[in-house]
Subunit: 443 residues, 3 copies
Amino acid sequence: MQMKPLMTLVALAGIGSLSAQEEGPKTYEEFMASSDAVMFTINNLWILISAALVFLMHLGFSTLESGLCQKKNTVNILFKNVWIISVGLLTYYFWGFNWHYPGDNWLITNILPKGGMAGYDAVDAVANQTAAYADYTYWSDFIFQGMFAATAATIVSGAVAERVKLTTFMVYSLILVGVGYTIAGSWHWGGGFLNKLGNDGDKAFYDFAGSTVVHAFGGFAALAAVLVLGPRRGKYTAHGVKPILPHNMPLATIGAFLLFLGWFGFNGGSVLSADPHLVSYVFVTTALAAVAGGFASIVSSWAVMKKPDLSMALNGLLAGLVSITAGADVLSPNEAIIAGMVGGVIVVFSILAFDKIKIDDPVGAISVHGVVGIWGTLAVAIFSDAAPLSSQLIGILSVCSFAFLFSLILFFILKLVMGVRVDEREEAEGLDVAEHGSPAYND
Amino acid sequence: MQMKPLMTLVALAGIGSLSAQEEGPKTYEEFMASSDAVMFTINNLWILISAALVFLMHLGFSTLESGLCQKKNTVNILFKNVWIISVGLLTYYFWGFNWHYPGDNWLITNILPKGGMAGYDAVDAVANQTAAYADYTYWSDFIFQGMFAATAATIVSGAVAERVKLTTFMVYSLILVGVGYTIAGSWHWGGGFLNKLGNDGDKAFYDFAGSTVVHAFGGFAALAAVLVLGPRRGKYTAHGVKPILPHNMPLATIGAFLLFLGWFGFNGGSVLSADPHLVSYVFVTTALAAVAGGFASIVSSWAVMKKPDLSMALNGLLAGLVSITAGADVLSPNEAIIAGMVGGVIVVFSILAFDKIKIDDPVGAISVHGVVGIWGTLAVAIFSDAAPLSSQLIGILSVCSFAFLFSLILFFILKLVMGVRVDEREEAEGLDVAEHGSPAYND
Amino acid sequence: MQMKPLMTLVALAGIGSLSAQEEGPKTYEEFMASSDAVMFTINNLWILISAALVFLMHLGFSTLESGLCQKKNTVNILFKNVWIISVGLLTYYFWGFNWHYPGDNWLITNILPKGGMAGYDAVDAVANQTAAYADYTYWSDFIFQGMFAATAATIVSGAVAERVKLTTFMVYSLILVGVGYTIAGSWHWGGGFLNKLGNDGDKAFYDFAGSTVVHAFGGFAALAAVLVLGPRRGKYTAHGVKPILPHNMPLATIGAFLLFLGWFGFNGGSVLSADPHLVSYVFVTTALAAVAGGFASIVSSWAVMKKPDLSMALNGLLAGLVSITAGADVLSPNEAIIAGMVGGVIVVFSILAFDKIKIDDPVGAISVHGVVGIWGTLAVAIFSDAAPLSSQLIGILSVCSFAFLFSLILFFILKLVMGVRVDEREEAEGLDVAEHGSPAYND
């Protein structure tokens, strides 16, 4: 989504009506009785429904990741996802939101935001009634952005699955979501330097709903973590790659479809209003890119792997979605189809390539979110004039290298302090029994 | 849903306000600043949310069908569903939408529509701003209808499961969705001959959200395919019917509940606005018919089969939903309950009857969508005066016979060209390993 | 939600506009053409979307309960849930709704409501057009409340799972939902004595979306049923508690997340309008309490059980949600976090304590809904001045003791008449085969 209007405790006169501004501040009741209130209410409702849809993506990630991994690590993956949504939203409340959207509060201007807890004194009726944005309330903004925030750590969760140490990942994900994600996000959505490129923003980096600042951020953080962590034992042998099969394909399919559904809120809500033209347009480009990605990955993986592969088809849908996330409002439907198809082909070759170079990503998260996230961001410059290619490259480079380095350093420190990997016996036994003391499936 | 307003690139003056029409065309910005914009925005938002709910029905079908089939064919069913949503939406974009709603563009007037790609030049700002319907945008209409379109092929997918050849089904579903479904739909929703019955429409066929033009279309296409395909090996033996058990009942239950949820968008969105009375009314008739169907199928299947059968209960919910789809806006709540109960009883006896005559439908799709689809359409004439019985019969006969013949001929041609059935060894081994090279469940 | 405006067939003049009231009754068309219609339409749409979200909670309960139980009882649990939603909504239509919201129709004033079927004559156009509330239609109210109603029986379903006799539970749930739940609800939401505490309501019991009148009602009904029923065989042995492991943790996780999602409608819809401030506020307190509950239960169960337990984490999320249900609109975000955390700790110790005293609740429903429901209701008085502690205690005591006694007597009568428990052989074999004749999972 675009840079948010800054949180200001201005009078509601600022909402929607020019004439009202002349009349001075209103109470919430006066505002709600005015004609401006209806459009505000619709827009606000759509942001909230979008927040609920993005929340559902966490169930999508939980089921996709656990379905694509081995049976013996299922509880562990699900547990990590409950943890991520829990601490992700809490840290976003305690400091992340104000790091993400710092307004004028920077430690280092446009680069390092200054924190602070979300909210205003809830018992202060006046603040409650007047702390509003142009199209939705302060709390609608918070909950929508908060649901986004935990996504970054979830992406990593899939890539490091089946061998990461639980407690280490818990600390890692808390810091990645609370600190890393919000700093990188502030550069663009929070009004930081990526939003100031060119002549004070005339060449600003363009990333509508976060191909780079959400997905590629997660993908490159995952890449760093996987490099430190190493592959699952027994996957890369002297005799080549030994495939480790997904344990539950219906579960993975539920995950991919729920993510697809949630993306209507992820992209559609990033319109930041219920504007009829723009939201419907974004729904169409999002859906067309997704199915184009699914189609292209089915065809291309069939050509390469000589079989119709369901995992690739599911990752193709997701790749299509990531491909359109940066430009859902500026690409035409035809361009959305092309972008999605290219994403669907890229993801197949990327997944196969990472296996070639022995970077072990059990669910393909680095490819889907990292590699295709870059593609989606570039597609904005290729297909539209929303931003020049140079700005997109600057955005990609700065966010991805920051994500990679932040994750690398953090994970490396955790390796020294806590250790990052379960031991050989635990990995062989599976994390469900080794770490949680109970398998996911019983009679 | 009723016949759509034709797509016209008229000025937005046509949206909502009579007085505005006198003032001549407005830009989109002018329209959005007018008082007409708020109701337009609400209505539009509801169509989009409905589209998302109907999208979720594809996950419902995926899980219902795979849950009710054998373990060894799970990946195959899921893969087919990813394929259907992908090519279904793409073909709908490239030609289906304009076949479905041809306006005045017919090859054979009111019978065979003339195609064309969806959309207008997206970079043409004026077209973007003015291509609008009375209550929602062009793209909202497209995405809502596009999500419906793939449903027809999904219904067939369940009936032919566990023995159909994958590549053949992929070609079949593409043509069924792109060509067959949209032609039959154009007869009613596209303003074709079913909409012109009587004195230029005073006795028009009535099918609110598609008991016939969606569900019975799919059911009768499925019947034809199953007749060509034959039953699964080993089901009908010299010693009677050998039941083939569903492999995962939680998965099937997830499917039925998601379909129920999606139906709030399927029927509720077919109001084509957020009209408070009508949408709430449709929610109530839809939900009451569904639970009445569930209740009646539980009782009647228990009486016949001497046990409480979960599959029948789930199919009863769905039968209740199909029963009310044609008349959700014209039946009273009491009538909705009766219609749902009759549907719930019909589906039990229909499923048992098809097994008697050795027509093998693993998930009961022909009964749920085909037979009960007819019942739902007749219920409109029985309980309301929305259309005379004669018109409903004409609609049922023309759509069902077309669906049956279209599917029969298409499937027969594909049988000659590609073959339609996997060989005995592949069927015994299961399509997951035989066609996809990997089972759905692993350790 | 607060007490509903009484259903009245007043003219639509009563909707929204004071000036309109002077002009006398309007038709529905006149109302919809007026400026009052837009806010009414938005509010109404949100109630309907909330109803759909609450519907989804039934899938959440189905999957949570079946996932946490043994494999051999899966079909039985799913079947019970299809039954509950079916008869729950039907009985609510035939008499429950008017028992729940009796208006002035009481058999015993403010204690025992007088029933009657929902609805007005649907073919009466005038009634249709004028039977409206301040912010939504009659049917929107019905469907939203109807989706709530079945919840009470669903809570019991989990607690009595794996040994209750199916037919007995079917009768029990029908009467509990239709009679018990609606009577208790009428005391508060229906304008009964809990709403009249103090000087005609100035110290009214406060229970925003039903921590007590929905959740604790269900939890205490469950407790009574479990006491009559006894524990599962083999759980409490001479050598201590023998844990009975959940059969499918991904299924249980799907359930918990769907319940979390549905709660946005459960609490958010209980605002009874789309008021931007209040709905967004309720979304935030609801989500923060949920994740605080998840976090606190992870930490506290880890401390006690010495392992990271996924079941406890899931129940912690739900406990957080139940904790905020009574006060979602009056607690601050900080207070919501505290309330959720306390709930998350309570649920861990409560589940362990019930096992200590050999009260066998396979899914923890008595703790999550009963014990934490009380906590959530008390939190209103502790953190806010919405109601005095005395009123909250009166509400808790009257509703919980009524639920307990109603359930105890009903279950005891059913024990005498039909028997409440399957026999030893059936319990060992599992209810799926013993009662339904087919296992949930097959090849």
